[in-house]
């Protein structure tokens, strides 16, 4: 990830996903903090977050 705007787009995309309460992407430290809705399956939600982010930055990768 090389630009702050892409990070912002990823943040917006992640926030729209069901099961995500709040997502914050820190561009400089390359960290994404995701708060889940109660009862959400973290792993399953993250797979969807990754899929959405791949649409924005095809060569991005999220480790969780």
């Amino acid at each position: 990830m090389d630009c702050a705007n892409c990070a912002n787009l990823m943040e917006e995309a992640a926030n729209k996903i069901d099961g995500v309460k709040n997502a914050v992407v820190n561009f400089m430290t390359l960290k994404m903090q995701v708060e889940f809705d109660e009862g959400a399956n973290a792993k399953e939600v993250m797979t969807r977050v990754l899929a959405e982010c791949k649409k924005i930055e095809p060569d991005c990768e999220i480790y969780f």
Binding site: D2, M28, T29, K55, I56, P58
Partner: protein
């Protein structure tokens, strides 16, 4: 340099060399087209893929799409006008990639600097307990406790020196390259690195309120 940056640099250099070679190589028609497509694809394949993916995901209007339109347009013009001047398309893609490479290099550097700065957060404090030095979590140290800072350690919490004198490296906090001398009665702030003497410090702030934590 990361593996990705190294790979991109190799692509840029390879394409640039190929372009120079092709410039001196006389060729005509379809052969010329094919020859020039080699450096073009080497340097620009990821951009073309990203542009296609962008269109597929209904996010077409980004810089990849722009570069694809510009270079493919230049190639079509070269074919139609019959000039066979494909240099333009290759050069546009090449310079774009050079720019991207420098951007990624610069960001990588500033990321490294920032993580080095994050490092000034100390992870323990020494307190003396019955003649022995104990390492404790700086969070648990209360105001007014005497902490001991040994040479080479970071100052964990803001405080006043009550014993000893030393030199502190404050460059991580203030940018000042000259070490600062401290003696009894001086206030010192957390995040500095103690260079040579053992200091006993009475803390004046909680860890959360200390300078290094505030950063």
């Amino acid at each position: 340099m990361t593996a990705k940056q190294r790979k991109n640099l190799m692509r840029i250099i390879a394409a640039a060399i190929l372009m120079i070679v092709l410039h001196f190589l006389p060729s005509e028609g379809a052969a010329r087209f094919c020859l020039y497509m080699i450096p073009y694809v080497i340097v620009g394949y990821d951009i073309l893929i990203k542009a296609a993916k962008g269109i597929k995901n209904l996010r077409a209007l980004d810089e990849n799409f722009l570069m694809a339109v510009a270079t493919i347009g230049a190639i079509i013009l070269a074919i139609y006008s019959g000039s066979g001047d494909y240099t333009e398309a290759v050069a546009v893609m090449l310079f774009y990639q050079i720019g991207e490479w420098f951007q990624s290099y610069a960001i990588g550097k500033s990321r490294k600097n920032i993580s080095a700065l994050m490092d000034i957060r100390p992870d323990y404090a020494n307190i003396e307990n019955l003649g022995k030095i104990e390492q404790v979590d700086p969070d648990e140290v209360e105001i007014g406790t005497t902490i001991i800072i040994q040479p080479g350690e970071k100052v964990p919490i803001d405080g006043v020196v009550i014993e000893g004198n030393s030199t502190l490296n404050t460059s991580a906090l203030t940018g000042e390259s000259l070490p600062r001398n401290v003696k009894v009665g001086d206030e010192i702030i957390s995040g500095c690195i103690n260079i040579n003497g053992v200091l006993k410090v009475r803390t004046t702030k909680m860890f959360d309120e200390s300078t290094a934590s505030k950063i």
